[in-house]
């Protein structure tokens, strides 16, 4: 859905992006993370055709961003980290203007405004002026404006800033819903725990270089392996030997009260391992998949030297 090839972006005296290249598939949510100044916002603005790179090619939904920026804008929603709103317009007017500005046929305006307001919990605020909204509600209105024309691609730069925990949870649900409807999202944020809730992929930028881009949602091919934590209700000194004997199992750690093991991802493989433990008469109290810790992965990458 998004294809970036050899993207180079310079500021005077500073290279902000060094030949960044990646592909983002349809219906994914990519968490774009990296320290301040890593180039996240520059990358998003290049994809959004708001900045012109020195070199490289970007295409969104098959359309070259530099050749046809206005066509791309029809296929894209973008929420800037420093967005503004028309304070003197009502929420409904803001959304109606957005629909018209995105070249949505007039007959569809009312339905799309209603849908976007409903998705962001603004349906009871349509008559209120944007300038009178709280910070969190303004953020929601901005998100509603970004997704109003139901673009296949949505880019969001720090969408959760200014939102309270409840609103953040709603936002996570909204992103999952948008993904379920087929939209592709790229979300830049510093709040990694939150990104973990809804992201399918993680992309780490450091000093303008892409240092990691991989799947994190645990839905991959048969080759994938998962980490499983085993806890016993009653300790057994046989546990280390039993897990060592499990077929195609890698033991990370094991003692008499529990173990951390790596197994093939398919559910049937995990079922067989659990059954084996039960058959051995172990009092298994917990047998759960350990989700990859986004924060840990991110920090581990930051400790490494960036790739050239």
């Amino acid at each position: 859905m998004i294809s970036v090839e050899n993207l180079v972006f310079d500021y005077p005296g500073l290279r902000a992006l060094h030949g960044v290249a990646f592909e983002i598939g349809e219906g994914s949510i990519t968490a774009l993370v990296g320290p301040n100044g890593a180039g996240k916002t520059t990358l998003l603005r290049c994809i959004a055709a708001l900045e012109t790179p020195v070199a490289g090619r970007i295409s969104v939904d098959g359309v070259d961003v530099q050749d046809a920026p206005r066509q791309c804008h029809r296929r894209m929603g973008y929420l800037s980290d420093f967005f503004g709103l028309y304070n003197e317009l009502t929420v409904e007017q803001c959304l109606r203007h957005r629909a018209a500005a995105q070249d949505v046929p007039p007959g569809k305006h009312a339905a799309l405004v209603s849908r976007a307001a409903g998705r962001t919990g603004l349906d009871d605020r349509l008559g209120q002026k944007a300038g009178e909204l709280s910070r969190g509600l303004r953020q929601r209105l901005a998100i509603a404006q970004s997704i109003l024309h139901e673009p296949p691609v949505v880019l969001l730069d720090e969408p959760a800033s200014g939102l309270d925990p409840e609103a953040r949870a709603e936002l996570s649900r909204l992103f999952l819903q948008l993904r379920a409807e087929g939209m592709t999202l790229v979300v830049s944020s510093h709040i990694l725990a939150e990104l973990e809730d809804y992201s399918t992929h993680m992309m780490i930028l450091r000093e303008g270089r892409l240092v990691e881009h991989r799947r994190i949602d645990g839905v991959e091919g048969a080759e994938r392996r998962v980490t499983v934590v085993v806890r016993l209700a009653e300790p057994s000194d046989r546990l280390p030997a039993i897990v060592e004997a499990l077929p195609d199992c890698e033991v990370v750690s094991a003692d008499e009260s529990g173990a951390k093991i790596v197994l093939p991802a398919p559910a049937l493989e995990r079922h067989r391992a659990l059954k084996h433990l039960m058959d051995e008469g172990l009092a298994v109290a917990a047998f759960e998949e350990l989700r990859p810790d986004l924060q840990e992965t991110y920090l581990a990458h930051l400790r490494e030297e960036p790739r050239s």
């Binding site: 310079d10 530099q66 317009l89 018209a100 050239s308």
Partner: protein, 465 residues
């Protein structure tokens, strides 16, 4: 058919019921007061109607044309607009007419008073021509103000604010100058009704002014459209500036030759105005356009790689203007060299100068202009780019005003030949100084550029693993 989104948004903001009632009430009260005080008829409304129209359209309207843009930048809504599907032309006219719609509402009432009074006072043709020129001048002023704001956004990136008053004054000055209210003479335009000699053809002043207004309005709209295209990231080539400069050469030459019959008899006389226009165009473009280091590097890389299509989209219009200046300067020089006494139209110096002195003078002028261009570019390619243009203005003011003044005051007026063109008494000193400074300017510019290249190479080298 759906309404232009920008226009509709501005209608929501500008045309509130209270304002729609207030404007005619206030204007109506003013006109009633005028009629009561004068004790005359509707013809007494012409002058107050004109005053109200110009105050509304030129003073307030030019401000509104910029403020609409400035607010978007300041409030952070401009990126939404840039991300929309609205095309450049729709954005331009939506903003132009939308942000000034309330002003035009009041202006229409004022213009009605002017026309009503004018029809009582004189021939219908006179007042209708004047009314058309008033509307044209207002539109021109607004378009120039909007174009100035867009040029600012292009130059200062990322811009957090737009200098509203400066852009307003630019639009006001241009709109006023080409309006029937203007009486100051520039390039042969004097009063509204004066006749105009253009290439020896005599035109009715009103018709010529109205035609000029429409043509310049077209150019201003094209400028706004092109600048908006740039804002919306649409790729473009710098042909529009080239076309405008060529048009300005032809237009101004007509006025110049119309006022100087002897100039029209000389080949060099025909090139004087185009040369001046080309020079001014290059200075203007150099100051207005961003001298973007990154873009210039990319342009040079495209040229080195033979990627002409990309190079054309990256070429800044100052480069085109400078190249045009070189071409026109070359033609002027060729004429002076090949046609003996081609400069005989010069009214005062004709008996004193010979051909070599004229050629030296043209070459010296050319050299000093090259020096100035290198100075402006070198400052912009230096460490403090944000202040470069202001520094260039100050240095040029020192070179062209302060230093010559000091030299004259000190009794060594001939020293002026070392700094600026136009020293027929010291033609060879003048030429030598110009060549020396032009060469020095090019050398400094080349050195600055090498510094930029080596800095970029140092900061973009891959890291050792």
């Amino acid at each position: 058919m759906s309404l232009n989104p920008e226009l509709r948004r501005n209608f929501w903001l500008e045309l509130t019921p209270q304002r729609l009632v207030a404007m005619p009430v206030v204007l109506g009260l003013i006109f009633t007061l005028v009629l009561l005080v004068s004790g005359g008829g509707v013809e007494d409304l012409v002058v107050p109607g004109q005053l109200a129209f110009y105050a509304l359209v030129l003073i307030w309207g030019c401000r509104r044309a910029v403020a609409g843009m400035a607010n978007e930048v300041q409030e952070g809504t401009w990126d939404w607009q840039r991300m929309s599907a609205i095309g450049p032309w729709s954005m331009v006219w939506g903003k132009l007419l939308g942000s000034t719609v309330f002003v035009w509402y009041g202006a229409a009432i004022s213009l009605a008073a002017v026309v009503a009074g004018g029809l009582e006072a004189g021939p219908a043709e006179d007042i209708l021509l004047e009314a058309a020129a008033m509307v044209g001048a207002g539109l021109l002023g607004h378009t120039v103000s909007l174009a100035a704001a867009l040029a600012w956004l292009r130059k200062i990136r990322p811009a957090r604010r737009v200098p509203v008053t400066l852009c307003q004054l630019l639009g006001l000055a241009v709109g006023y100058k080409l309006s029937p209210a203007s009486t100051a003479e520039v390039l042969g335009f004097s009063a509204w009704s004066a006749s105009i000699d253009w290439y020896g053809f005599l035109f009715d002043g009103r018709t010529f002014l109205l035609a000029s207004l429409l043509v310049f309005l077209g150019w201003a709209l094209l400028a706004s459209h092109r600048l908006m295209q740039g804002e919306l990231q649409v790729r473009m080539r710098p042909w529009a500036w080239l076309a405008f400069t060529l048009f300005a050469m032809v237009y101004v030459d007509g006025l110049f030759l119309g006022r100087c019959a002897r100039c029209a008899e000389s080949a060099l006389g025909w090139i004087v105005a185009p040369y001046v226009v080309a020079t001014l165009s290059a200075y203007f473009a150099l100051f207005v356009e961003p001298k973007d280091v990154v873009r210039t590097r990319t342009l040079l890389a495209a040229l080195r790689g033979g990627d002409w299509r990309r190079a054309a989209t990256l070429a800044p219009f100052w480069l085109v203007a400078v190249l045009l200046f070189v071409v026109v300067g070359g033609i002027a020089l060729a004429l002076a060299l090949t046609i003996a006494h081609s400069w005989d139209f010069l009214p005062v110096l004709v008996f004193v100068l010979d051909d070599r002195v004229v050629v030296a003078g043209i070459l010296a002028h050319f050299g000093f202009v090259v020096r100035d261009f290198c100075l402006i570019l070198a400052l912009n390619f230096g460490a403090r780019r944000g202040r470069a243009d202001m520094a260039a203005v100050i240095y040029l003011a020192v070179l062209y005003l302060l230093a010559p003044w000091i030299l004259s005051a000190a009794g060594v007026g001939e020293g002026r030949a070392l700094l600026l063109p136009g020293s027929p008494d010291w033609p060879w000193l003048n030429l030598g100084a110009a060549i020396l400074q032009a060469v020095a300017g090019v050398a400094v510019l080349a050195r600055r550029w090498r510094g930029i290249e080596s800095h970029f190479k140092a900061t973009t080298q891959p890291r050792a693993s």
